[in-house]
């Protein structure tokens, strides 16, 4: 049982829309304040990466509900330049834009599951799940 909803990221303010939608879905799934903040922050990072590096893309949310567990999956897709060295971007402190370089490794720590597929020149897809405990 699942349902999906998406936010397109084109402008900086779309990040706020994505965050808001993600927070609403997280609340419906039953996440508490701390996890809501974690999820919202993770969405913020992923959406900002799309806005900064790919220019445009989308973020989709899926509320997952099985017999054993509940959770939320965030899927960030873009058709931007892609990431050439995945190991490097997952390192703390690596940034090409003068930022803190904590974005992607941070998202991985904020969420429970983290999966990244990227091809140079074709775009990036990141799928990340947080389970309700």
């Amino acid at each position: 049982m699942s349902d999906q909803s998406c936010v397109y990221i084109k402008k900086e303010w779309d990040i706020v829309a994505a965050r808001q939608m993600g927070r609403d879905i997280a609340t419906q799934v039953g996440f508490k304040t701390v996890d809501q903040a974690r999820i919202a922050t993770a969405i913020s990072e992923l959406a900002r990466n799309i806005y900064l590096y790919a220019g445009a893309g989308k973020i989709c949310f899926e509320a997952i509900e099985t017999v054993q567990k509940k959770g939320i999956t965030i899927k960030a897709t873009d058709e931007g330049p892609g990431i050439s060295d995945l190991a490097q971007v997952m390192e703390d402190g690596y940034s090409t834009s003068g930022g803190l370089g904590a974005g992607l490794p941070g998202v991985k720590r904020l969420m429970d599951e983290f999966d990244i597929i990227s091809k140079s020149g074709e775009g990036t897809t990141i799928e990340s799940t947080k389970w309700l405990r």
């Binding site: 900086e12 304040t33 903040a37 919202a40 990072e45 900002r48 904590a102 974005g103 941070g106 720590r109």
Partner: protein, 304 residues
């Protein structure tokens, strides 16, 4: 010749309005229309039709009835689709009506009468478009103009709220941040922070992030930069209002905020700021003592 078309449309306005209203009603099934009473919708439809006809009749004048009508709808919060849909239906109705009446039209007295033959249909379409298109443009520009106006007003209001700096005491200044911080706002925070520090001669600046919903790496990065800039001009920055959930996400993200002091609340931050400027809050106990002395002396006088 065009005049004849116009006349026939104006003369038969009742008939066309009837066709138009019939068609428009079919399209008005959305949630917005269901919230309105039938009567209100009916009245507005009629008003719309009248405004369109007056618009066609008078041609281009400074303030057409259609403008006034559009303005009224904007103020009432009706959707733009109501107007565009209405104009499209109007175009179709007029064309349909003219084609229907084509056989009865008498062009023999027209100035530049020429034979159109069977090709009259594109010609009619073109003529009707010539009336309707300017009206549609007018409506849409009226509508988008009013939206742009609202957006720019709100942007101004937002900018005014963006980065306020409050000098609460000598050498102590507070900047409360409320709402989302984007790149533009982060720049303003930095500028007004540095300007304010110099202007108010502040030794300590408290940045309060109680009202910031999400602190991600970008927001943290800007705060760190601002604090570093404040340090460079010889003042100190204290980050206050860090809610427990924000503290956890900051730790998870692995952001190092160790370069400047942080506090959970503005109150604690303010106390630290006072300590940093060699001051403290002292309760005024003298007055209580005075009152006690007074009561005691009264008691004594009664005893005597």
């Amino acid at each position: 010749m065009e005049k004849i078309l116009k006349d026939v449309v104006l003369d038969n306005s009742d008939e066309i309005v009837r066709m138009w209203i019939e068609q428009v009603k079919k399209n008005q099934g959305g949630a917005f229309y269901q919230s309105l009473s039938d009567e209100a919708l009916e009245n507005t439809n009629r008003e719309f039709a009248n405004a369109i006809f007056e618009g066609i009749q008078k041609g281009k004048i400074a303030k057409t009835p259609l403008d006034e009508f559009a303005e009224k709808l904007i103020n009432l919060g009706w959707p733009l689709t109501y107007l565009t849909d209405g104009m499209q239906v109007f175009r179709r109705s007029v064309v349909k009506f003219i084609i229907h009446k084509w056989e009865d039209l008498d062009f023999s007295e027209a100035d530049n009468y020429f034979e159109l033959g069977d090709d009259y249909f594109p010609w009619v379409l073109e003529k009707v478009d010539e009336w309707v298109d300017p009206l549609v443009n007018e409506l849409v520009s009226e509508y988008s103009g009013s939206w742009e106006n609202i957006v720019s007003l709100q942007r101004m209001a937002l900018q005014e709220l963006s980065a306020p700096l409050i000098p609460v005491m000598d050498n102590i200044t507070i900047m409360p941040l409320i709402g989302t911080i984007d790149t533009e706002r982060a720049k303003m925070v930095m500028e007004s922070l540095l300007d304010g520090v110099i202007k108010h001669n502040a030794e300590v600046v408290l940045i309060d992030i109680t009202g910031v919903p999400v602190v991600d790496t970008m927001v943290a990065h800007h705060i760190i930069q601002a604090a570093e800039a404040v340090r460079l001009i010889g003042s100190r920055c204290i980050l206050v209002g860090i809610r427990p959930e924000i503290a956890q996400t900051i730790v998870n993200l692995g952001i190092d905020l160790g370069k400047f002091p942080t506090k959970s609340s503005l109150r604690k931050g303010f106390q630290t700021a006072l300590e940093l400027t060699n001051r403290e809050i002292v309760e005024d106990t003298n007055r209580e003592e005075e009152i006690e002395n007074l009561i005691e002396s009264l008691d004594r006088s009664e005893e005597e």
